[in-house]
């Protein structure tokens, strides 16, 4: 049981959200400390077409420790080695889908535009596509699995790491779990790294709700939806609370004092307003339940570590927050 480490990790993970200020690890933050702008800012120069394939898909999050002796120049070799590994796993009978003979092709590419600062490593995309041998030779290959490593504004970890290591702390996966475990074990064997599911605590989810509500969206935004899971009941009960986006934004605008900066107190006030409104109508204290999912027009996040990006202009901003969460889990 990790009681004390658990506490320390919570302290650390919250402390990391406000990096940029000089503070020691042993001390938490007082809630009045302002944070550097972490709310995702709209990226006008991002090319929406290049990132379109990342949107509106459910990505499962993992944190990855630094990779040893990984090089951007050898991506083709990695693809070749990985496809050989997958074929070997299939031979062993450990994979993948019973009864279906699939010819799996691996493509590893770099996404240089997905980074926060110049010190960041370019994102690496791994895609598994398949073509059934029964279909004609020139038929389209179907994408069956994709995963990408990225690091957006991960300066804190990349400057502390020795020479041969590459920092790509965030790994996002879309596809079947069997392929995830095969690709993951290949990376673990080849680069001596380790993967861990990244869970998002209700505290962080409420931060995301507040931050993303405040973001400006061009088109008509969808409703802000919060899903709560009620503990200690014989049957599981989920409460879904949907708020009109303009009302939510108006509420957040009255709460937030300095544009571009968010402090814990403002998030607390915002959430308390929502909870007390709900209590007035339904006599249920949402603050006693567990916040499990937050959906806004920018993105939607689930506490099991599942994220869906909905707006390309805020993609980097959300990735920056997720990178920070991944780094705090690694440390």
């Amino acid at each position: 049981m990790e009681s004390v480490e658990g506490v320390a990790r919570t302290l650390l993970s919250f402390g990391r959200l406000s990096r940029g200020l000089p503070f020691g690890r042993a001390h938490g933050l007082s809630s009045r400390d302002p944070l550097l702008p972490l709310a995702p800012r709209s990226q006008e120069n991002a090319d929406p077409q290049r990132t379109a394939f990342l949107l509106r898909k459910q990505w499962t999050l993992y944190s990855v420790t630094p990779l040893y002796r990984f090089s951007n120049a050898h991506l083709r070799d990695y693809a070749r080695l990985l496809s050989a590994f997958i074929a070997a796993e299939k031979q062993k009978g450990l994979a993948v889908e019973v009864g279906v003979e699939l010819d799996i092709k691996v493509a590893v590419s770099s996404l240089p535009y997905l980074k926060g600062s110049d010190q960041d490593q370019a994102a690496i995309l791994v895609q598994l596509s398949s073509r059934s041998p029964a279909s004609p030779k020139n038929s389209e290959e179907k994408l069956i699995w994709s995963g990408w490593f990225c690091c957006v504004s991960g300066d804190d970890i990349s400057k502390n790491v020795p020479e041969d290591f590459t920092c790509l702390p965030l790994f996002l996966v879309n596809g079947a779990e069997c392929y995830t475990s095969i690709v993951g074990s290949w990376f673990q064997k080849t680069f001596d790294c380790s993967f861990r599911r990244l869970a998002i605590s209700p505290l962080i989810l409420s931060w995301m709700a507040a931050m993303w509500t405040g973001c400006k969206v061009d088109k008509t935004a969808s409703a802000i939806e919060l899903v709560f899971s009620v503990p200690c009941l014989p049957q599981p009960l989920d409460i879904s609370y949907a708020i009109h986006p303009e009302d939510a934004k108006a509420l957040w605008d009255t709460v937030q004092k300095t544009p571009g900066e968010i402090i814990q107190e403002e998030v607390d006030v915002f959430m308390d307003c929502l909870y007390s409104h709900f209590h007035r109508h339904f006599r249920i204290h949402l603050s006693a339940t567990k916040l499990v999912k937050v959906s806004t027009a920018i993105a939607s996040a689930h506490c099991d570590g599942i994220i869906k990006f909905l707006q390309s202009q805020y993609l980097t901003g959300v990735l920056m927050l997720l990178t920070e969460l991944a780094i705090s889990q690694i440390e």
Partner: protein, 188 residues
Amino acid sequence: MASWMFVLSNSKLITQFSVQILQPLLSCVVPWLDGCWYCSWVTTQRHGNLGSYYRASHLATSLPLPPERDHLRPRIDLVAFMIDIKSKYSLKNVEASLAYVDDSFFLGKVCFLVTGVGRVNCCSVEMNAIQNLGEVYCSPVLFCELEVEGSQVATAQRLLRMLEICAGHVPGVSALSFSSLMRNCADD
């Protein structure tokens, strides 16, 4: 889990049986629905040479306690406020209840018991808020995980030790030492 407050009171010596009695008390989980729940029980220990021992624990979900039973209530030596890290509501409840505690208790007779710290991924309460609470009220904050049996016993033992000191049964140590210990830690 709704917040619940655990009020400890002791008027005589504590024996080692108290751990076995305290443990099931700490392990009962109060339902989360809002509602007052007040329970008290008194148990008598075996009569030894020093006379009979009494020990009582009172639990309530929030303060102020109902005035009807004021005359039956014994002297209270220690007040323990329970905060569940998974429930923001418990923190709010404790903060509201603190207003009803007499000032003299804050000289070492109040402590905060924070449970649920084994599950980092479920935390809804910010650690800083709890640390601030401990600092503002000059009271120790104990972390535990009451859903784990080992931690229950350890926490019960710690609370009982504090209770012994607060009731004045440990010669040379008074409840005031808790506040001065806290101040020393903060300065470090």
